[in-house]
Symmetry: C2
């Protein structure tokens, strides 16, 4: 019997790929999307289409108004930076305070109820080295916490937080996904899309994505002019 | 200048006392109440009255539907047990999976935005030894995680999770609160109140509370028949 895995699904390219890797490892997928007050709801719609394409057993959307705390350009505090150098080592203003801690805590809550011991998150320490909660040491600390935090842990079980993308470049991630026949036209990556939902092309996320597709040498299906709107 | 502290405020007796201890230590209080799908909303109303009585700088309520995950009698899955022995060592069915992990993650998110480095939570390892996420080792693991998870941590700051009640009996907690002139009539403790909001008197929480007041030798103001309804 396949074992259950909770996969955090944002609607972006990374979490789609991480979830597909979980599926390729014969896990039954339980997808969790946190609607946390993003600047644009398009990500949540994309997550629904992706969950369907992946054939998940169940897709839960949980609403959490992290925007009310403020503190990030991603939740409406200040401008999303455009055209900045991608190799900056400082933490970008798009960092959402403690976001992955909150996401993993919610995934852990659901995993414990489901009897799942595996959680997949599409964090990446290479392209986003500026985000503290994308580092391997953060993930290991969360696993330690998860064991201490739960009934399952007390009973001797262990939770594993899988980060299959953590050491990959964006191009590597796209290559892995294309091997798994993923349709990246379903995803949304832009931090600050135009009112019609089309990507700005200038934020960090758009530019990392473009760089990735360029390195792989394939066009981004999201940007194909003839592609019918699916969302 | 007083330093800021985020205090998790549930509407119960313990978190009120923990917050008052934070105030006595000259912190400016930022109270966070998570409305997580409790069986009864009375706790959230109580938290508002308590925040006012404590003179907090700000009180945030954040809604999070942990009930949708199920898995606990406290969020509507199954019956709240009544009249059971209080010295059982197994984890009660009122355990909410990963609840304190989620609560502390949210407190951390707000603390980072506020520039606060202190978080207070009214967990108690003595009377609730069955809850894994009330143990000191869980709290220490969360502090480690918090440092790794945040911009502040990367910049060399440390977060402290204060648990002033962790080793106290319910009677000790009540004594501490009475010394600080707290009005426990503002609090709600019952896991399964009657439709009129009055406590059932038979769940673990009601019975621990009654035992505490009895040991201190004072009446529970919540149970005084002449007390005017404040909520």
């Amino acid at each position: 019997m396949a074992s259950k895995a909770v996969v955090l699904l944002s609607g972006g390219l990374d979490s789609y790929t991480a979830a597909a890797i979980a599926r390729a490892q014969r896990h039954d997928l339980y997808a969790l999307t946190v609607a946390y007050g993003q600047r644009h709801a398009a990500e949540v719609h994309a997550a629904r289409a992706i969950a369907k394409a992946l054939g998940v057993v169940e897709h839960r959307e949980i609403t959490l108004d992290l925007a009310s705390f403020g503190g990030s350009a991603l939740v409406g505090d200040g401008e999303v930076p455009k055209d900045r150098a991608l190799d900056q080592s400082s933490i970008p203003v798009t960092y959402v305070p403690a976001r992955n801690t909150v996401f993993l805590a919610l995934a852990l809550a659901w995993a414990e109820v489901l009897g799942a011991r595996d959680i997949f998150i599409g964090v990446n320490a290479l392209d986003y080295s500026g985000y503290p909660d994308c580092r391997p040491e953060f993930i290991r600390a969360f696993e330690t916490l998860a064991t201490l935090a739960t009934r399952a842990g007390v009973e001797g079980e262990r939770f594993t937080v899988h980060t299959p993308l953590i050491a990959l470049s964006k191009a590597d991630i796209i290559r892995a996904g294309l091997k798994l026949s993923l349709d990246y036209g379903l995803t949304r990556s832009c931090y600050d899309p135009h009112p019609d939902g089309s990507p700005c092309g200038r934020c960090d996320s758009c530019r990392l994505r473009a760089k990735g597709f360029e390195e792989v040498g394939v066009p981004d299906p999201l940007l194909e002019p003839q592609r019918p709107q699916r969302l």
